[in-house]
């Protein structure tokens, strides 16, 4: 039973990281209708940014804010420079665009840095472990990531649910045409949402860097998982993404423990089952 609790903690922590990536994805899709395949690359860019910042300054804690600010700027730039031109185009053209971005980001990474593995040290203040159950301890940094993810989730909910801008984002995600009817500035909302989504993915990357190390293609695995999170939660729903992320994190973790032979597809089976039961995800409205 003790082991089971430790595993639930594992699932929670993994799920919350997935939420950071998935929440940006679901917002971007909900508001802009863009299926952003390059979201995993943004995660990777955040991790490399953390590596560069930590190496240059020797202070890891500068990296997460740098990822957020850099993400906001980079996301706004991408939206204004590229995605805006694609607003009237078919969804699939946008998919093609994000696919090209994956290739270009990957090449840029290889050209600017190299193809080696790089470690990002866990910040010294958190470089210790806390015993959880008999013989198994939890790293303090992992717990800190868990706390940061929860805090970010709370801030996001407060922002989306309680502020005026948040209300327009919700309106845009639920009914893109309504934004125009209400006289809201759809263009600024798009820029804001894409910037925020990019910042979230890059923050997730920066936070994951000390856990994962940084290496080429490190975002690939997360891309599909976070799409699964988004779909199970219902497109455009932040609350859906939150609960779905926790569900996916737990199923993935428990699958590895209790059914290792099929752990590779446990999450796929989960998604298929959910969608056959509720074809628009768990939290789809309307």
């Amino acid at each position: 039973m003790e082991g089971f609790l430790a595993q639930l903690l594992n699932g929670l922590q993994y799920g919350l990281l997935l939420f950071l990536i998935g929440s940006g994805l679901t917002l971007i899709f909900g508001v802009m209708g863009v299926i952003n395949l390059a979201h995993g690359s943004l995660f990777m860019i955040g991790a490399y940014l953390a590596y560069v910042v930590a190496t240059l300054t020797g202070e890891f804690w500068l990296a997460p804010p740098a990822a957020v600010l850099g993400g906001l700027a980079f996301g706004a730039l991408l939206e204004r420079g590229l995605f805006r031109k694609f607003r009237e185009r078919e969804h699939l053209d946008q998919v093609l665009l994000t696919f090209a971005l994956i290739l270009l980001f990957e090449e840029a990474r290889a050209a600017l840095l190299d193809n080696q593995f790089h470690a990002v040290a866990v910040p010294p203040s958190l470089d210790f472990s806390i015993p959880v159950t008999g013989g198994f301890a939890y790293s303090a940094y992992r717990l800190a990531v868990l706390a940061i993810c929860l805090a970010v989730a709370a801030v996001m909910f407060a922002f989306v649910e309680r502020t005026r801008i948040g209300a327009s984002i919700r309106a845009a995600a639920e009914n893109p045409e309504m934004v125009d009817l209400l006289g809201l500035d759809a263009r600024s909302i798009h820029t804001l949402v894409f910037a925020a989504g990019t910042a979230l993915a890059m923050l997730a990357g920066a936070l994951a860097a000390p856990l994962q190390s940084v290496y080429p293609g490190m975002g690939d695995g997360f891309l599909i998982l976070s799409f699964i999170v988004v779909v199970i939660g219902g497109l455009g729903s932040i609350a859906g993404a939150f609960w779905a992320a926790l569900l996916v994190g737990s199923i993935d973790t428990l699958g590895k423990v209790y059914a290792p032979q099929i752990a590779g597809i446990s999450v796929c089976v989960l998604m298929a089952a959910v969608l056959l039961w509720r074809p628009n995800g768990l939290f789809a409205r309307g």
Binding site: D93, L96, A100, L101, A272
Partner: protein, 304 residues
């Protein structure tokens, strides 16, 4: 999705003849490259029936391609192509029937992700169980083709064979899209609810298209297995399905022949990219970016 008219078909036919004449003037490597492109074109064309035809974007399609490829291995290798080809189509079609029956309950992006899940389950079946010979892939003895093909003649024989099957597949789909069935599919793509209101059996039509497309993907996979004599689980993975989609989009999703142009163009872009630089992804990325920025309807839409 529009079908090329008589003139368009004439041009396509001339291009096919030019490729078929390669043994007279091209090196074996270029014939092999053309074979690879032709197989990719079959795969993309089979997906086009769903994507351009009915507006269904499926990521399970590589699973059916891979099943077709693996059927050659599962039948024991060295069998007659007249046995393995129908078997591949049948196996892939059956899998598509089961997948489509379930996945078609969802729509849009949810459909895309449901098919991704089913595709990955098929991938898993071959990657993580001993059924298909393991994660590293397996060699297969090439099927008999009436007579045994000498090694040196393989590039020629496979090029002609692949071109023939690609042509047949194209003509079949050309006919199909001009039929009542094709028009009904186009109607579903334009407005599914209206078609339902008009009394069409939308679910049945979609499933038929899904199964047909799956069987054709199986044929493409079969040709890949026969040509390469090597199959690996990656053939079933979603990356491979996404590649077919990339070819369709590059070539033009609004045109029946778009995938063929896309497949040959992407193969050429990669070949050039690999020849001039080790940063081939840069070339590929820039080419796609240019295509998406400049060509609004893919290569096939250039003439408008």
């Amino acid at each position: 999705m529009t079908r090329p008219g008589a003139r368009g078909n004439l041009w396509l036919g001339l291009a096919a003849l030019a490729l078929a004449s390669m043994p007279l003037w091209a090196a074996p490597w270029h014939m092999q490259l053309a074979s690879t492109a032709a197989i990719a074109a079959m795969f993309a064309l089979s997906l086009q029936l769903l994507a351009g035809g009915a507006g269904l974007i499926s990521l399970a399609h590589a699973g059916f391609f891979g099943l077709g490829a693996y059927s050659v291995y599962l039948l024991g290798g060295g069998r007659s192509i007249f046995l393995t080809l129908p078997a591949a189509a049948l196996l892939a079609g059956l899998a598509a029937a089961a997948t489509g029956y379930l996945a078609l309950r969802t729509r849009g992006f949810y459909f895309l992700m449901t098919t991704l899940a089913f595709g990955q389950m098929l991938f898993f079946l071959f990657h993580d169980t001993p059924l298909g010979g393991g994660a590293d892939g397996v060699f297969i003895a090439r099927p008999d083709m009436i007579w045994t093909v000498p090694k040196a003649a393989r590039p020629v024989v496979f090029l002609l064979l692949n071109l023939t099957i690609l042509t047949a597949m194209y003509l079949f789909l050309w006919k199909l899209m001009g039929s009542l069935f094709g028009h009904a599919l186009s109607g579903i793509r334009a407005n599914e609810d209206r078609m339902r209101a008009m009394g069409h059996d939308v679910a049945g039509l979609k499933l038929t298209a899904f199964v047909l497309a799956g069987a054709l993907a199986g044929v493409a996979g079969h040709m890949a297995a026969v040509t390469d004599a090597f199959v690996s689980p990656e053939l079933l993975g979603w990356h491979h399905a996404a590649e077919a989609l990339l070819m369709i989009l590059l070539g033009g999703i609004g045109h029946l022949h778009g995938p063929i142009l896309g497949a040959f163009a992407l193969t050429a872009i990669r070949e050039v990219g690999q020849s001039i630089t080790e940063r081939q992804r840069l070339v590929e990325g820039l080419a796609i970016l240019a295509a998406v920025l400049l060509l609004r309807r893919g290569i096939a839409g250039l003439r408008r």
